[in-house]
Amino acid sequence: MRELKIAAAALALGMGFAGAAAAESYTLTIKDHKFEPAELKIPADKAATLVVNNLDATPEEFESKPFRIEKVVPANSEATFQLRPMKPGRYKFFGEFHEDSARGEVVVE
């Protein structure tokens, strides 16, 4: 068991934690495997909170590489995401389970 303790201690060493900050909230809805709005405007260099509300009867995996988000939003429920401060630009997001229709962009300005 000593080895297990060493392993746990080694891991704890590698982890740093910091508190989260409050931020402006934005909402996206998913209906018929499409995002509304498909283009979401948020201010640059500010953290934000994003609520994704899935109105469909099927789950969706909400994903955005630039925001480093990947999360399943169950049917008829919502999920909350913390968006990190971003430079101005257009950043794509999509629903992995219905990638053909579920696409959109966050416009940071």
Binding site: A7, K71, A79, F97
Partner: protein, 276 residues
């Protein structure tokens, strides 16, 4: 159908690679097959339970339940893998001496079998719950269900094939080198999983330092592509990692190597000790 195949294969590939590696590492250990099968079965059962309670899980921890759950599962796997390497550093020498058959020199001993079976179970649990949710969604919507299910089944079969290919690829390595190869593989695997856990903790807002993207190689190799996914599992490749992910990746490798070296040094028998 092809879309479903790719989605399911992408999820199954990580678990597939891990099962193959663990099978190769524990080859020759009595009962290892049973432990691995048990790990897979427990993982599948766990995945179905997690999928069934996906909504409750999402809503827990102020909406960050999924992230904390995934990060927790990943970190437990990291500890188990690190423990395996440390344990092997201590006992590998004895094992190699005891088991005269060269082919068994890499056997990990049953002490860490449970740890490795847990790693298998956790990998199946994490990836499997997403597959279950995706396939459930298809069934629930009733849209072209049959062809999507065939695609999904084919994706799972390809994942299983990945396990088999990984296993035979590894056991074809000469036994004397296999131990060094699997030790390195497990170290990199653990570091990659630790970096993934960081991504989830950053997503949950639990880690807010060093969130900027360190590099973007998505134009060269997307970690969503199949080759990218394989590298993602094996060495922790990410096409847009945050600074903290890279820091933790490096620290995990250093910590595991340091811990195994220290343990090996302590375990070293006094010079010229008579053989027992």
């Amino acid at each position: 159908m092809l879309g479903a195949l790719i989605i399911v294969f992408r999820e199954a590939i990580e678990a597939g690679l891990i099962i193959g590696i663990v099978a190769a590492v524990t080859r020759g250990v009595a009962g290892s097959r049973g432990f691995i099968a048990g790990g897979v079965a427990a993982g599948v059962l766990g995945a179905l339970i997690v999928a069934a309670f996906a909504e409750q899980l999402s809503k827990s921890f102020a909406g960050s339940g999924q992230e904390f759950f995934n990060a927790g599962v990943l970190l437990v796997a990291v500890v188990m893998l690190a423990w395996h390497n440390i344990w092997m550093a201590k006992h590998g020498r004895e094992l190699a001496q005891e088991l005269s058959a060269v082919g068994k020199a890499v056997a990990s001993g049953d002490r860490t079998l449970l740890a490795l079976a847990t790693v298998v179970g956790l990998a199946v649990l994490r990836e499997g719950s997403e597959v279950a949710l995706f396939l459930y969604g298809v069934l629930a919507s009733g849209e072209s269900g049959a062809s999507v299910l065939i695609g999904g089944a084919a994706g799972l079969a390809l994942g299983a094939l990945t396990s088999v290919a990984t296993f035979y690829g590894l056991v074809s390595i000469p036994p004397k080198k296999l131990f060094a190869v699997t030790t390195a593989l497990i170290t990199l695997l653990a570091a990659g999983l630790a970096a993934q856990a960081v991504a989830f903790l950053q997503q949950a807002g639990a880690i807010t330092a060093l969130t900027d993207t360190l590099w973007d190689t998505s134009w060269l190799l997307s970690d969503k592509s199949i080759p990218g996914r394989v590298l993602h599992t094996l060495i922790g490749y990410a096409d847009q990692p945050s600074q903290m992910q890279v820091v933790v990746y490096g620290l995990t490798i250093i910590a595991i190597i340091a811990a195994t070296k220290l343990t090996a040094m302590n375990a070293q028998p006094p010079a010229r000790a008579p053989a027992e």
